[in-house]
Amino acid sequence: MAANIGILKRPVSTEGVWGWITTVDHKRIGILYGVSAFIFFLIGGIEALLMRVQLAQPDSTFVDAGTFNALFTMHGTTMVFMVVMPAGAAFFNFLVPLMIGARDVAFPRLNALSYWLFIFGAILMNFSFFKAAFPDVGWFGYAPLTTSEYTLSSSTDYWVLGLQIMGIGTTAAGFNFVITILNMRAPGMTLMRMPLFPWMTLIVSFLIIFAFPPLTIALTLLLFDRFFGTNFFDTAGAGADPLLWQHLFWIFGHPEVYILILPAMGIVSDVLPTFSRKPLFGYTTVVFAGAVIAFLGFGVWAHHMFTTGLGAWATAAFAGATMAIGVPTGVKVFNWLATMWGGSLQFKTPMLFALGFISMFMLGGLSGVMHAAVPVDTQQQDTYFIVAHFHYVLFGGSIFGLTAGIYYWFPKMTGRMLSERIGKLHFWVMFIGFNMTFMPMHILGVLGMPRRVYTYSVEQNWAGLNLFVSVGAFIIALSILLLIINIVRSARKGEAAGMNPWAAATLEWAIPSPPPHYNFAVIPTVRSQHPLWDEEANAVEPPPLPAHGEPHMPDPSYWPIVVAFGVTMVAGGLLIWQATTWVGLFVIAVSGFIGIRGIYGWVFEPVAEESAERVHAHH
């Protein structure tokens, strides 16, 4: 065993707060992601409600222009990077190893590092609220508005650095899951026997690996402009091109849309068969449609830029590519409908949310095709029609899909059922509130209401619809309250879930709820796409532990959070450096040392701390 050269000995205990801080267990990391995402969902939701109060009437003075601009910037940034992505990550983490029959991800400590970088980056960005003000340049951060000439406060620096740090964690997670899914499937689980959710996770992980570098580059260039006076985007100097930012941002930003939606598609593709009591229709087609969407997703970014003067050829090409992506998307919808055709449909809460996903996401897809038609886009771009469109995709799609996932897998994660009665009420309140909020936005867009305006005047005659929309937003908030009530109720007196409460077909339902630390006492051998439907032995109870006892799992580690802290504080040092050079440099030097020392400690950390107790237990 390697000599212990670390200052921090490898922890053994998984108890208490330190157990969570040092955990490398994919299930616990999944829960950390999920809880964090839910907290940020509440924050982003409150930001949305404040905006809706402001816009409920014309010439409102509830908040001022600067505050409103900060609200929509942080609402967008929060919902994309701190809610839907980590909520997806929560499901990847908790479920993918279970669904492919593995004991953990390929790199458990790297997995923990991804989480800590995400949460520290998110906290750093939100910390701007206390230091300066929330960022107010839009979640898309178009140059040159983001350069120091036009953004006087340091809030944009927090935005740049926060995103950058979250991006590092996300990219690491992308590699982790590609390697996990390609290498750690249970014997017999060929790729084409894998459930749809791990399939979509694999595709999303590839998307992350290829989409985040352009964002990293764009943020680095902007960082250099703001901190060191370079001239990539600042048009006051020669040679800068603000459209360079838009290209880099959307080369990231459009695949990002699929990073947000494909996990929900995976969830729905696994929920539908369970509650239709029959297999997914056209499994191969659904898998490949996902892959085609992801591939085409890299060739459509400039449809965010149809009005920037790209020229006729580029505009026509991107319009064609954008329409093409509608085909695999449509195919998925038809395959989902065909999955239900001939089934015996059980309208349990997860199924209701999955159905909400299919119908609402399809409407979002159809409005998307509308602005792929460039002439139509010249009227719709940057109006509320676009706001309506992408909320149908990201709320009607992603959030409904993820909520289906919450209701579907909550019993597996906690061992307790959620209330069907409250769940169904939650669905209907959310479904009605959602449509009240976002359906009229289509009309507002047609009537010319631009996005990102903190106010409008009486003569515009948008007041009635806006009031209606604002009421809808509060109904959505009410539905979220129902979810919280349901979770609290379940924690207090939820019925025991048992192994497989939905009589589902996939491997995660073949082990106890919640799953033991080591997941599978014996790694299962897979012989079909639906092991629990096709093999009676697996459907009843998990096989007993082998004679040598519990499988040996990786021990917890301090190093992931130490490295994440070092990296984040280097960014913090940069922010301090702007105010007080020497203090900033000192913080950068110390944090850099902590980060590098952390990596060193990580590399040479022994597999387990040597102790008499453990040696006795395992040898």
């Binding site: 040159p144 003067g309 239900m340 047609v446 009537l447 631009p450």
Partner: protein, 377 residues
């Protein structure tokens, strides 16, 4: 190995919860339909109001062309959406869980799947063709007698420069209210002074961005109706983005020519000793540092104010041009618009505090009277 795929009814492992009775489902669907109808009616009431930025009342050849495609696309998308939702509702009804009914274990059907791949392709091709034809049309050269204008976006107002129509064949410059003659093609190039803005007059022409360091070409358009049309900046451009609006006045040819002539004529100085004359002095001493009035001043930092008395609005189309509004604007722009204190921002002139005021209340009244007197002859 025995196939024990559970059916809905014979599923012993499921936690017992009340299953949806068909009657309940039907009632729910019916309630949902009523709700949707009520919502549509409500929306129709709201939408029937007069909304000056509407994209659905084209008043130029360009927006008429877009409108035709817009309607086609809406109809196509609505039909597809309706059919799919109807199919879904049918499936949910027909295959709901009920006693004596078990799920058919189908896995796929290649013919079906090819069919529903090909149908979307055909629909999308039908949408792509008019799109591409339209894009090709935008590259056409402007008409020979087109009116050439350069529009420049500033934080947060619009500058309009008519090529060759000004004094000595220079540009004729105005701000925030564009005047064009009816029935003549308008060819506008777009630029920006600071950040990215976007030029959009929904009834006359779709939007194109104004990008600093670039010259973009707006789609050519020929207004078909005399009247005043609303424009708005459509790209987020900082704190006062919401208040960056403008107007386009489509005039008769005679009115337009008269306006151009008046813009070029030296203004008649106000009668000596009048309120307007004292206002002119205030203008020269303060406002002229940034604003041009042809024949009076030449600085172009702020909007050109020639013939200001004829404008319908002030502050980039956000307020009616009344005496009270103008007085408030001159006194303290910060009460009205969230401007940043950059070098190009208009100063605060009067807040009633002698220590910070640059003008007296009376001087504000005088300069307002002067500006309102700058009218067409």
């Amino acid at each position: 190995m025995r196939n024990n795929r559970p059916t809905g009814a014979g599923n012993t492992n499921t936690v017992t919860t009340p299953t949806a009775h068909p009657q309940n489902l039907a009632a729910t669907l019916r309630r949902l339909l009523y709700f949707a109808l009520a919502a549509v009616a409500l929306v129709a009431v709201f939408a029937s109001c007069d909304t000056p930025l509407t994209t659905f009342e084209p008043r130029s050849d360009a927006t008429q062309r877009v409108h035709t495609i817009y309607i086609f696309v809406i109809v196509a998308a609505s039909i597809v959406g309706f059919l799919v939702l109807a199919a879904m509702a049918y499936i949910l009804w027909k295959y709901r869980e009920r006693p004596g009914h078990t799920a058919q274990q189908t896995h796929g059907n290649t013919t079906l799947e090819i069919t529903w791949t090909v149908i979307p392709i055909l629909i999308l091709v039908a949408i792509a063709i008019p799109t591409i034809v339209w894009i090709a049309g935008t590259t056409a050269e402007p008409d020979e007698d087109a009116l050439h204008i350069e529009a420049v976006g500033h934080q947060w107002w619009f500058e309009f420069r008519y090529s060759g129509l000004g004094p000595d064949g220079e540009d004729l410059v105005t701000a925030n209210e564009l005047r064009v003659p009816v029935g003549r093609q308008v060819a506008i190039t777009l630029e920006a002074k600071d950040v990215i803005h976007s030029f959009w007059v929904p009834q006359l022409v779709g939007k194109t961005d104004m990008v600093p360091g670039r010259t973009n070409i707006l789609e050519k358009f020929t207004p078909t109706e005399i009247g005043t049309f609303y424009g708005q900046c459509a790209e987020f451009c900082g704190s006062a983005h919401a208040l960056m609006r403008f107007r386009v006045h489509v005039d008769s040819h005679a009115d337009f020519d008269r306006w151009v002539e008046n813009m070029n004529a030296d203004p008649v100085p106000p009668e000596a000793g009048s309120v307007e004359a004292r206002g002119a002095t205030v203008f020269t001493n303060f406002c002229a540092r940034c604003h041009t009035i042809y024949g009076v001043s030449t600085e172009e930092i702020g909007p050109n104010l020639t013939l200001f008395g004829d404008r319908a609005t002030l502050g980039a189309g956000i307020l009616d041009s009344t005496d009270e509004n103008l007085k408030a604007w001159v006194s303290n722009i910060r009460d009205i618009k969230p401007v940043l204190d950059t070098t190009n921002a208009m100063p605060t002139f009067y807040v009633g505090d002698p220590l910070v005021d640059q003008l007296t209340e009376a001087q504000v009244d005088q300069v307002v009277a002067y500006l309102k007197s700058l009218k067409l002859r």
